[in-house]
């Protein structure tokens, strides 16, 4: 042991019996020759004793009552948390997926209605022939014929005259031996445009 500084670093190990035999002999030799270090070692021992004997304080009488109340609040919080997680993600994901799909479907339907109204109804209403309750439009380049009518029967009659084909009125479907793609009846407009019926066909 060469210095007091070295001794200082080893005091705790010394008083707690953690030094090996040689280190212990060295420090004891130093302590015999160095009064300040010997005094420190003694102070360490007294200090440890005093710290270990510090009087203990105890919790207040209502500590347990307060803790129980806090635990009750905590339990309620946990129950609430569990309730919000009642459905596991394996169930929640399909439910959310289906809900999302339903919303998208409804949006598409609404958008489709709006587009159809914008496309057909004003167009028909602006036509000078509309006052007669029947409008027949033909696209010259494609030859497609679109019929707007206030009543369904008239629209079907017009199409029938033009095509000489038989139309099943009940279903508003086209019964034809010809290629069905050449004759289309737009059923959707029966509902979408209120009382305006539109049928169309192309050759």
């Amino acid at each position: 042991m060469n210095s007091c500084h070295q001794c200082e670093t080893l005091i705790s190990k010394y008083i707690e019996g953690e030094l090996d035999y040689n280190s212990k002999l060295q420090i004891e030799k130093h302590l015999r020759d160095c009064q300040p270090c010997a005094s420190k070692v003694n102070n360490f021992k007294v200090l440890r004793k005093n710290l270990g004997e510090l009087s203990s304080i105890t919790v207040s009488a209502d500590f347990d009552t307060i803790l129980r109340a806090n635990i009750r609040i905590e339990k309620r919080r946990e129950r609430h948390k569990r309730a919000s997680l009642f459905y596991p993600w394996k169930v929640r994901v399909p439910i959310y997926g289906m809900s999302l799909a339903l919303v998208v479907f409804v949006l598409i339907m609404v958008f489709s209605q709006t587009s159809n109204r914008n496309l057909y109804s004003p167009q028909a209403a602006m036509n000078p022939e509309w006052k007669n309750g029947l409008v027949i439009q033909q696209n010259l380049s494609s030859g497609a014929i679109t019929v707007y009518s206030l009543d369904r029967e008239s629209a079907i009659d017009v199409i029938s005259q033009h095509t000489s084909k038989y139309l099943d009125e009940q279903n508003m479907a086209v019964a034809t031996n010809a290629d069905s793609s050449t004759l289309a009846v737009n059923r959707k407009l029966n509902n979408l445009s209120g009382n305006i019926y539109q049928t169309s066909m192309s050759y």
């Binding site: 200082e8 670093t9 005091i11 705790s12 190990k13 005094s39 420190k40 003694n42 102070n43 360490f44 007294v46 200090l47 440890r48 005093n50 710290l51 270990g52 510090l54 009087s55 203990s56 304080i57 105890t58 919790v59 207040s60 500590f63 347990d64 307060i66 803790l67 806090n70 635990i71 905590e74």
Partner: protein
Amino acid sequence: MAIEGKGNRPTDEDLIERFQNGDLYAFDLIVKRYKNQLLNFIFRFLGNTEESEDLVQETFLRVYRNRTAYQKVAKFSTWIYTIAGNLAKTELRKRKRRRFFSISELGYNEKDYDISDDAYNPERYVDSKMKEEIIHEQIIALSAKFREVILLRDVQQLSYEEISKIVNIPLGTVKSRVNRGRLKLQEKLKYLLER
């Protein structure tokens, strides 16, 4: 029935396991075992009884809330002391911020903050109660890192290994920190220790 600790006294680890399985009585036993130990640890750390008791309450609430997080590989005592120690350190940080704002608001006045060394005139303190108060004040005056390890080692009498886990520093660092803390304390309390 699970085999419990020596005699009929279940170990802390048995109790927390029972509590994890829904036995609330086991939680009550844990509270009974640790409430005063933790109060003394936090009180010696912070120096305020009321705040300390609040933090002990919060410690048990956190044990309750995080009961599933505890794993039997660790000693329960190190786990609960870690929670209590972290709460105490957080409280210290809050105090520092509050003090900072408080000083900022008042403006610096040397007279307000100059604590005279004469406050610890040895002749004023004769009985053991006074002696204890002086020791307590000097523990509080230590920096938090020394205070924590001194309290855990010399007041709570935990092993160096446990302290190393609680404070989350290497074993060698704990030992040297304890030694340095004791050196500082004995320097401050020299007049008292050599009486």
